[in-house]
Symmetry: D2
Subunit: 356 residues, 4 copies
Amino acid sequence: KRARAFGISIGVLPTGKNNAITDVAGLRVGHTTLIRGNDVRTGVTAILPHAGNLFQQKVPAAVFVGNGFGKLAGSTQVQELGNLESPVILTNTLGVGTAMNAVVGYTLQQPGNEQVQSVNALVGETNDGHLNDIRGRHVSEADVLEAIKQAKDGAVAEGNVGAGTGTVCFGFKGGIGTASRKTPDATGGYTVGVLVQTNFGGVLQVNGVPVGQELGQYYLSQHLQEKADGSCMLVVATDAPVDARNLERIAKRAMMGLAKTGGIASNGSGDYVIAFSTHEALRVPYTSKEKTQTMTLLRNDEMSPLFMAVIEATEEAIINSLFKAETMQGKEQHVVEALPLDKVLKLLKKHNALKH
Amino acid sequence: KRARAFGISIGVLPTGKNNAITDVAGLRVGHTTLIRGNDVRTGVTAILPHAGNLFQQKVPAAVFVGNGFGKLAGSTQVQELGNLESPVILTNTLGVGTAMNAVVGYTLQQPGNEQVQSVNALVGETNDGHLNDIRGRHVSEADVLEAIKQAKDGAVAEGNVGAGTGTVCFGFKGGIGTASRKTPDATGGYTVGVLVQTNFGGVLQVNGVPVGQELGQYYLSQHLQEKADGSCMLVVATDAPVDARNLERIAKRAMMGLAKTGGIASNGSGDYVIAFSTHEALRVPYTSKEKTQTMTLLRNDEMSPLFMAVIEATEEAIINSLFKAETMQGKEQHVVEALPLDKVLKLLKKHNALKH
Amino acid sequence: KRARAFGISIGVLPTGKNNAITDVAGLRVGHTTLIRGNDVRTGVTAILPHAGNLFQQKVPAAVFVGNGFGKLAGSTQVQELGNLESPVILTNTLGVGTAMNAVVGYTLQQPGNEQVQSVNALVGETNDGHLNDIRGRHVSEADVLEAIKQAKDGAVAEGNVGAGTGTVCFGFKGGIGTASRKTPDATGGYTVGVLVQTNFGGVLQVNGVPVGQELGQYYLSQHLQEKADGSCMLVVATDAPVDARNLERIAKRAMMGLAKTGGIASNGSGDYVIAFSTHEALRVPYTSKEKTQTMTLLRNDEMSPLFMAVIEATEEAIINSLFKAETMQGKEQHVVEALPLDKVLKLLKKHNALKH
Amino acid sequence: KRARAFGISIGVLPTGKNNAITDVAGLRVGHTTLIRGNDVRTGVTAILPHAGNLFQQKVPAAVFVGNGFGKLAGSTQVQELGNLESPVILTNTLGVGTAMNAVVGYTLQQPGNEQVQSVNALVGETNDGHLNDIRGRHVSEADVLEAIKQAKDGAVAEGNVGAGTGTVCFGFKGGIGTASRKTPDATGGYTVGVLVQTNFGGVLQVNGVPVGQELGQYYLSQHLQEKADGSCMLVVATDAPVDARNLERIAKRAMMGLAKTGGIASNGSGDYVIAFSTHEALRVPYTSKEKTQTMTLLRNDEMSPLFMAVIEATEEAIINSLFKAETMQGKEQHVVEALPLDKVLKLLKKHNALKH
């Protein structure tokens, strides 16, 4: 079960229907999960901002680098042009090149793209090398294409799936997590959805409760030399009409949600936030007869509810990734235990942090 | 009393001796508090990295812009050259020009600076216009010089003092707060100190407890149209031997500490982090016969404990600013209540968030 | 006479009517020139993007830091919010605080701003300390207000005026310069205007001719230990409908125009570009009943002509500052010679770089 | 012949021995040139900062984004950590993923890297799709490895080789070019080398002479609708002891050298500068028993000669790429003419821009 099903209610804003990034209408998510033999524990997650041809109908986008010890591909073009022209792909650290190749192939082959000669693939990663034979480079272009093909709306599989198959978070089994928030109708009633690939460390807090400390498992603790390193990829989507500049501001706040789970953006963590708007009227056509584009955008003054939404959704998405992940054995018989939910819930009860 | 005196123990690392930014040896803090008549509620806080001539012996420094709706002066030179050559001054929004003038005058007049023709004053601010007649521009150059003159080591006055005299935080009276952390001896035993000027909003959390929610006073709550706007200035000092690049990374983490108090870096908030190292061997002389400088610096791999330290110290410094601030009446008979400590402590007890 | 009057035709695009930043309709420029006694050689230049209340009707804007050894105030808010709410003021290095104070006072006192409590003054500077008694801090708030008051459209005074009164460029007398370009009608027919305050060094090139080398006066030459340090402030205005993101890209290209004059953005040079759009439909109202703003913006694809325009206009504005500046004697009887136009024109003739 | 052999003497500083990036001792360059049938015109260029294991002995490095319409991989980690751990690879736009894969494989297989699980490949590109069947994606991992293997010191092949095989510059055939400069002994006697992959447009200037205008071939000219788009990759190496912060400042100046050739960094141009120091004492070991590293670094004040050096070397490297490139026919029988050297030299003579 997800965190909320246990009575964990993070923040003050309501969730969307599925409490998932797919609550942003039109957005789809697909996973390819690779679990083979004793040591392949990896995968791919694809996020498609809309159902059309992404290259022909780009979406406003921004990237914020929380901590740049990572191999995110495609960020500089997104920053320069303010838009995204491909699915967002998450995978493992050594699979980025392969994922780029897959996205390039996917884009070249889409109907309407016959003349396209330049594709900016946005590919993020975290390092699953503790459980996965990462040096074996088991992610193929076909795996990436399959994740794109499987993308669908509705509920999103979490935990040990897709790019989260082999990840570790706060010393427990991490994975994929998602959540969403709606801003009050009076401020626009927009949806903000977040999907995370959690593979980082620090001192775990669940809804404000110092779980890591109480379990004695945290960065710099004496009993456990848990390394805080790893990474977190954070993908933020919204249907609010915001341009690249304000999307970058929204992206920046996702790191504040991560902070509330006890993450510290350690030296070795590649923490990146990708944010985009699916608002239809803001699509950027690849070609246009017009020299100008008319856009109706939220004023700066309207940003704060969206900032709060992304902070809350990020915190909950990370907690969901931990709640949904299961104990896994992988490479070299390494075992990473799932977060012990019974103990955690007891702690939350002790700290009066459950709604029911 | 400060938060820790009530049994609030934030994080896992030990504090320095005074649990203050002044635990970084040699650093001094001074305040000028301006409370006059019904509507002057403002002031100046000065942080001096070391006791020598700062212009002649600059310190490695960096600035991170959490949210740039603010008037911080001097940031681009700090970023370009990687050092700081003046006291750090905090004051109110419309006092920045005056504070710059004061710092320029102070620097020109210091013995040894007779030939100096260029001074980069680093001046931050938050807007105390709710309690203070900010349009009256009551901060004078003399007030700034007095804060510099009063600077001393040891315990630091908090709450309604200096640049925090008229500030508002989470709808309660904010002010100046400070805290410090020591990293484990095995990782260097360095001190990280933080001083904050709190004037921002969001959904207050105290040591993980959702105080803002339980008191019904938070951004976007129905009963109270608290605006989250305002600002937070965060000054981080360390004795660790780190250069400007790693100081910028440390600065970035201070925003993660702010996040843990429930801050959301709202649109109207000018949230800036200034970080510097007081490590003596890293002083940058204004002039030198040598073309090179030899420095012994921490490797990137050693940064994570410092990151954790700044997150913890920032969270506690903000909480201290609230705990030490007192109810204040100011401009147009506006009253801002202090955080109701009795209620807050009850809530913390209810949530098992007190050590004793 | 200005460079073009001698047959120097820089670039391929046509100029605006006055070949000045004021060719951008509605923009006004004012100077206060301070020449007193033997050692006051300084001043103020004010650029007003439009004739209305700038705080109530902000303009889209961006700042690019070419080299941040300077004291530019106000840049972080412009970058965060994407707009400018004050006149742009240029003055000397130690006058920035005073200019900020003047802009704050000016803004607070404008009709309609009675409730304003926060003003972001954008103030740039270069160091005129070779000719000017800069430590005497002779620029007053009244001088700044006078520059604002004197602002007018039409031809712009260049050379030893305003903030350029005491500056030095390539070892010759620098000052204020301006120029403009029009993009081809087929690409929009937009105007780009540039105004510069030149106080930097390198190896002077005039319209491609190596004047500095041939005159034996350049950075690192044996005969003259000219220091390349100093600074250059570059203000770019356009009537093209571009937002902050694309204005930042335009700003970045101004440094390429500076490069073509032989500037090297030396370590000690504070080289900043401020770019804004005066396009009326893009004004950002301080307050609005609407949560959104509808804007018609140029597509990324339409940017290149504007990039070329700003490069050409910047190059010519710098050359104009040198051509219009006159030999000046100042502080400690320092004399800085004007660019020897007769020799320069001979060199340009020798290199076939004159149109007539 | 290269530009200098015709008497074209750009700038004031002397060149290194080979006037090539390989004048930076220890640095090696290798090319794989792919010319097959009618429509394969592409390749790979590899730059190896030193002869050792780059992953184990990283070099200080920085990236500057001149214009981010490009697919450069690896930039964020270089910026965060301040170092480079792989060969720099240049290829075509759609070959970046393959090049990343090759670099990952190369690194994993090097002796000593048996435990490595994370590799940051720095791969740049320009779009050679006018002459090359870029959609065919003809660059293989083997091609990339071959370029690395072929890397050698001494003179560097220029023009239609390696990653420059199919590029177009100012409407003429572009390619690979290189140059170097030495700073005066009194300022350190350091070497700065530059290698470029030229595929961009604007208004060509050769040593200050308006060649593009006089030949009637330039961006926005009526007779030729030359698109200025394309890209330029610029790789800067130096043996000067400078850290990442000052390398970023050096990188920024390379765009100023590009400006002097008439480049405008058009909207569609992916212009990136990669700068690194080969100074042996600054190598960053992957693992170390020490928590600190002692480094002797140039002071900020010593940077200006290096800035001038990189500007000059970049300008000359670009001109060399044009001088050494030859007319090429490729995809769909597109022909791109070489720069007509006879006409160009006549123009340079007319403008007195030749030394002999």
